[in-house]
Subunit: 539 residues, 2 copies
């Protein structure tokens, strides 16, 4: 491993997405997922990646075996997680400690109990034996050439219940050779002021017996303060922060890596990432969300799709003067972008700004801008939203400029059939009838579902007439059921993302049901694609 390329050791950004993050409800990671996430985290530049608990979980054992063979980490060191040896046993004979060594990870995090009541009730051993377990386990792993971090579980609750014992666990770990002792707010009940005071007190105590002793922080978000708690610990002298990508974790989640790193880099002006990495933050956050198969949180600080989105009419007019007056940082610093939202709250000023973004000058034609605002309001009442469907908004805008919709074909009808028959047979079929350039076409397509079949039928119907459609691909498809708020039944909104290989665009359709809504979004997607390809409407 090329030590020279690693960031220096004075401050640790320690990621535990693969272990603690995976505890989040709804996350289920395969080994391939874990390897993919490790690559993203390494590229982002964290110093440590906790990969899991080898020996306790076959999937994690496999992860470390494959990581050794397949991962070529440039910035991060791999960390194996485990517990201190069994009560009454010997570290050298403990099978779980042996599995940590076998994992090949150069760094090991051991969880140790620091709350007297947990020692008695969960470990069912004596307070002294617990201290011995810490000493013995750390010494054993150090003798095997491993760097050791100790996670003091339930530290803050333990400190409140029995300060002397909690401090004794920290001391046992430090004296046995742990590099960092991490104070964990396992149940997540702390607030920043308490974290700051406790970390400061612990560090004062540590420095009486080991000058330079290091403390880390592991915060859970149960009070909504995990990021602030992490920063409060840093304020008090912690030099190791444990986080997870997008704040994934058990219950509410863990301290979110991205706002923690964002604050350290931008607000503290402290270099904790390799140069250039911060600008990749938004992309990395979304890529990891993709792998764990959760929609990226649109309202996540720094990296959320909405993090720099402006809606208020009041602000919209002032943003024309100077965008920096309305943003705490330049979104490009973290690889994000400012967006003006089209919404009936925003009025003319933001429609004009949005038009400008798309290359239309609406400021000279107040009548046109007024018609666009009115159409947006009308459509929003039906359940449309243009905030994340730029292409559909641009088509609406072009409609108003032209006075009519641009059409490349005239639809006669479509029909989809989904069925499941005896003997497990199942199928989806769609038929589209339309005319284009004076020619009537009827085409039938089969697909994985009714929408897929409809897509294939439409492409087949237009085959030969618009060869440009061949380059278009549907890359994302989202369905949202809009609740009927007053018992009047629900509507379905479909968002489709389409790509022509060089750029992507989003379209929206709203209807009583998913098939009809998909059809509308599909029509917009292809109409926009053909306009982008430089074609003139024919119908």
């Amino acid at each position: 491993m090329a030590e020279a390329s690693r960031t220096d050791d004075s401050f640790h950004v320690f990621d535990t997405t693969l272990r603690d993050g995976a505890q989040r409800e709804g996350i289920n990671l395969t080994v391939a997922d874990k390897l993919a996430i490790a690559r993203h985290l390494d590229e982002f530049g964290v110093g440590f990646i906790e990969g899991g608990w080898p020996g306790a979980n076959p999937r994690d054992t496999e992860f470390f075996a494959r990581a050794a063979a397949e991962l070529d980490l440039r910035n991060a060191r791999l960390v194996a997680f485990g517990a201190t040896r069994r009560a009454g046993g010997k570290a050298a004979e403990d099978p779980q400690l042996a599995a940590l060594v076998t994992s090949g990870a150069p760094v090991v995090t051991l969880v140790a109990k620091a709350h007297d009541r947990h020692v008695e009730l969960a470990l069912r051993t004596t307070l002294d034996e617990n201290l011995e377990m810490v000493r013995d386990s750390v010494a054993y792993l150090r003798a095997q050439g491993r760097r050791v971090f100790i996670d003091c579980e339930h530290f803050f609750d333990g400190y409140k219940a029995n300060r002397a014992y909690a401090l004794a666990v920290v001391r046992a770990a430090h004296e046995a050779g742990a590099d960092v002792v991490v104070l964990c707010d396992t149940n997540g009940g702390m607030l920043p002021a308490g974290v700051r005071d406790t970390v400061a007190d612990v560090l004062r105590d540590c420095h009486t017996y080991k000058p330079g002793a290091r403390i880390g922080i592991h915060a859970q978000d149960d009070t909504g303060c995990a990021v602030a708690n992490t920063l409060a610990a840093v304020d008090a002298g912690a030099t190791h922060v444990q986080c997870t990508a997008n704040g994934y974790g058990e219950r509410v989640g863990n301290a979110n890596l991205f706002p923690v790193v964002g604050a350290l880099e931008i607000k503290y002006d402290r270099r904790v990432l390799p140069p250039g990495s911060l600008a990749e933050m938004t992309r990395i956050s979304h890529a990891i969300a993709e792998v764990v198969n959760l929609a990226p949180s649109t309202h996540q600080p720094y990296v959320g799709f909405s993090a720099f989105a402006h809606k208020a009419g009041l602000h919209a007019s002032a943003i024309k003067v100077d965008p920096d007056l309305y943003q705490h940082i330049d979104p490009e610093t973290v690889g994000n972008t400012m967006r003006m939202l089209v919404s009936d709250m925003a009025g003319r000023a933001s429609v004009e700004l949005k038009g400008k973004e798309l290359g239309y000058d609406l400021s000279t034609d107040r009548d046109l801008a007024g018609r666009v605002v009115a159409r947006v309001k009308e459509q929003e009442n039906l359940g449309y939203t243009y905030e994340s469907a730029d292409a559909s908004f641009e088509l609406l805008l072009r409609d108003e400029v032209r006075g009519s919709r641009e059409r490349f074909y005239t639809l006669e009808s479509w029909r989809t059939i989904s069925e499941q028959g005896p003997n497990g047979f199942s199928g989806n079929e769609a038929t589209v009838k339309l005319s284009a350039k004076g020619e009537r076409r009827i085409a039938t397509g089969e697909g994985n579902g009714p929408v897929d079949a409809l897509d294939k039928a439409l492409r087949t119907a237009l085959d030969g007439i618009y060869p440009q459609l061949g380059r278009l691909e549907l890359v994302d498809y989202k369905v949202r059921i809009l609740e009927g708020q007053h018992g009047t039944g629900s509507k379905t909104r479909v968002l489709i993302e389409t790509s022509d290989g060089t750029a992507g665009w989003s379209t929206v359709g709203v209807a009583d049901n998913v098939v009809a809504a998909s059809w509308l979004a599909l029509e917009d997607a292809y109409t926009y694609g053909l306009i982008r390809a430089g074609l003139e409407p024919t119908e």
Copy 2:
């Protein structure tokens, strides 16, 4: 208004969901929505509800008119929001200030610029005239018998740029008779330590000219610290907190009312709500999410569906010993509940706990528990998730206990047709063929969409055979597209919530397409409903 029933004035919980919260991307509130939210907030017990900007927005003007006629607030006072008078004008002649008075709201919040650069660039007036606008506007509204709060926009950035001027704005407001001057972190770039120091400094300054002067805090969440920033201000002496339900707001959002109130009530042991309200927090949070038509955030502190959900196998076994060791508060304090999650990470211990929750003792039959764990893993690999589909999990469990699926009919086939024809005709039709109690049935249903049609066809087919189905109603329907992570195409997961009028249950189906997945969830929903109704399977 019954003043006696209001909480005392020494600390203000001020909600701005209806004004600032409505700026969130994706929120569009009707007047009826706003009235519904105001009722929920009043029931929860906030002291102030900021309803909007009458005069600037016709919808907000209508809201105040209807609020006066229709709302009977028990705990809260209604607040109208507006800006200080125009530069160069007179407060008494300002149409927007007049609209605030006309609104009838007993309290007015006026936004004032506190950042010198904003005064010059956005207001385009002099620093002195801005101070005069504050004094004049406050004095005018006071003379009209209104209580006045001043929101100092961009206060923290202004304080950094020009402390003396920022303090001068606060002083002008206090001296003109404002009850509270609220320091706004409009761009949301602050961290708790900075907020605490700034608020303390401002209060020191205020108390030199007005002993007892009050300061409030309005935090945005752009650094992920809005809750902590709000609490830091309280630590420094602020006695008025501005929040929004579920943290709704522009960009990342505002300080979330629920964790702020949760911390104040539980961690600070400070009574800021009427007695009994805290236990309504989870319900109120979800009810407001329902009205604004956003899915409640599952990972929200205190009130999220996952906020007290335990997944880890390690924890699951310890939770058997004492749940309080693994929760920062008793979930019932805030009206939430502990949940054990069924997941392949959890293993036998949590399947046993989950079984116990459902009334099955699996601890005595290790073989059965093992089979259930294996089935769950197998299904999770297909894309199923039982974490939020208890009824489907219980059916799986009963399958393993019985050795086969309980069936109330034998399906032969189903088919759905969706079509759109010429002249705007559109329709959805489904046909189901099945046999039940020896009788073969064929039924066709029409609906808003293919799933609705399928539901109607199934009910019609079973009509007369199981009259119990008449009581069952589908109350929620969610679709999730599971991305094919390795280019192998996508799957669709459908979650259905069903109610029999007294209780609800959730079921899940996964298939290549939305119709087939819905069918599976529908079958589980009705099977479970018939079992609940006490029926014995017949097939």
